[in-house]
Amino acid sequence: MIGNVIDWIGAPVIIAAVKVVIVFLVLLVVTMLVIWFERRVLAFMQSRHGPNRHGPFGLGQTLADGIKLFFKEDFRPKNADRWAYAIAPVAAMVPSFLAFAVIPIGDHITIGDRRVDFLVSDLNIGLLYFLAMGSIGVYGVVLAGWASGSKYPLLGGVRSTAQLISYEIALGLSLVPIVLVTGSLSTKTIVAAQAGTIGDVTVFDGIPLLQQVQGLFSFVPNWYIWSQWPAFLIFLIAGIAETNRAPFDLPEAETELVAGFHTEYSGIRFAMFFLGEYIHVVAISAMAVTLFFGGWHGPVFGVVEWLWPLVWFTLKVLFFVYLFVWVRATLPRFRYDRLMWLGWKRLIPGALIWILATAIVNTQGIHRNIRLGVFGLLFLAVVVWMWRGDPRLGLIKPVTRSRVREVPSGNL
């Protein structure tokens, strides 16, 4: 009987289902730990204690908060749109979970004669899938804003739509150079391409001086961060904006909009928004690690060889989660027009120039010196473009009074 069912469904589907359940449960636990981690790190940075009463180091605090949220009254405002109000928290949470389907968290193990990857699905359009989940995630915020039938959430929702659409373009463009270099959209292939050390790179073959310099660094792992750091910066900035976190937390700016799009939510529905946001943080961190920091690659010692990649991956992701908290603790919120300025006038053109530079370096059939020369010029162009507003460079006149008057009055 059970054998028949397995035959009908097929072993790959069952293995995938088991992976999905494991990833889901692990993510729930990870969220709990990340919330605790954020509160403790924030407290540390602000010279206070943070949650430290429940359990060792206050680890039980998030669990207690979760239980409290579960048992709170679940109410709906009178003006709210019944269905959209109910769908919004789910729509905010589910895509964040789904995005993890294409993130390779480790190498593989062999069970029987079957190779099982630590990756739910090796889609050949992995990166596009990740972007698609990001763009679906907007609906949670937009719907929550509209369906609450109240003005602050509506303003939060409108802001968030504009912000997420703008930064999604930059996020997508920052992935293109990686795809150009790897020649694949599959996350597994991208991680595999980052194996080995810098000594394996062949770009500098035939230039003795550069090759000697390369030789000095031959112990450094061959991650994309070294050659693609402009793309990484754009990815990181756009990624923080995608998660609606400080300094890009205009949709839920508590000093202006009460709590923005989730003002009218409480109890378990609010918990879903919270969960979705933290999973999204972990997902963006995991993607940054996968694309730019070699994914699960790292030194392997000793007996349990499949475990080390998991450890390295976790540590790298933890670093980025720490970075998210650090940024939140450090930077003030953007003004609305500055947010749009950064997205449209800096990140998107910068990413486009950088794509051109990467494409030229990787074009076959052009003399290498020409390629490197054009690349150098374009690289300079990206750097100047991104930082030309810096007064220390002296490229732009400081803002005078008459120019201040021209700041647009429309303020969402």
């Binding site: 749109d81 050949n124 596009l128 679906i136 509209w146 739509t161 659409i165 999604e168």
Partner: protein, 193 residues
Amino acid sequence: MNLEVVIFGVMFVVALGCSLAMLFAPNAVHVALFLVGAQMALALAFLLQGAFFVAAIQIIVYAGAIMVLFLFVIMLLGIDLRESLIEPLTGQRGVALGLGAVLAVGLVFVGVQGADLAAGGGDGAAALTELNQGPGNVKALARALFSRYLLPFEVTSILLVVAMVGVMVLARRISAVENDRRAGVPAAEEEAA
């Protein structure tokens, strides 16, 4: 019956249900949401056909960008009221019926042709099989777009850029200061510090 048929059935019901609900829902936001649902179901249909790239683009471009802009406009303009039932154009029902009939005939024709293609009847099937060789069809699609269909592709992109620049020119608001400058009015005196 296998899993693929089950998924197709679910997709079919969702797509049809969302499309019908879209037609009859009175609220503009709900209409947009049902359209999103139908688009997602269609993306699933593309996945079942092995067209991964098209499925992803369907979600990113249509569900993720265009529909969000629709919602943005609806929310910003506040037209989430009941739809008005007064027709501003006279005789549009007859025209709509006629055009709808043409569209239906076209769809049936394409459907029949498509069935022929799937059975290996035309050149199209062979070309499709060739395109889908290897893991995924991203590379094949790119090769087709950037070699054989390069001219239409570039012309379309120029058209889009021209349209976008046109919209920006038409929609641009000139600030009061800039307006004064153009009209030759001397700039307002700087306030004394």
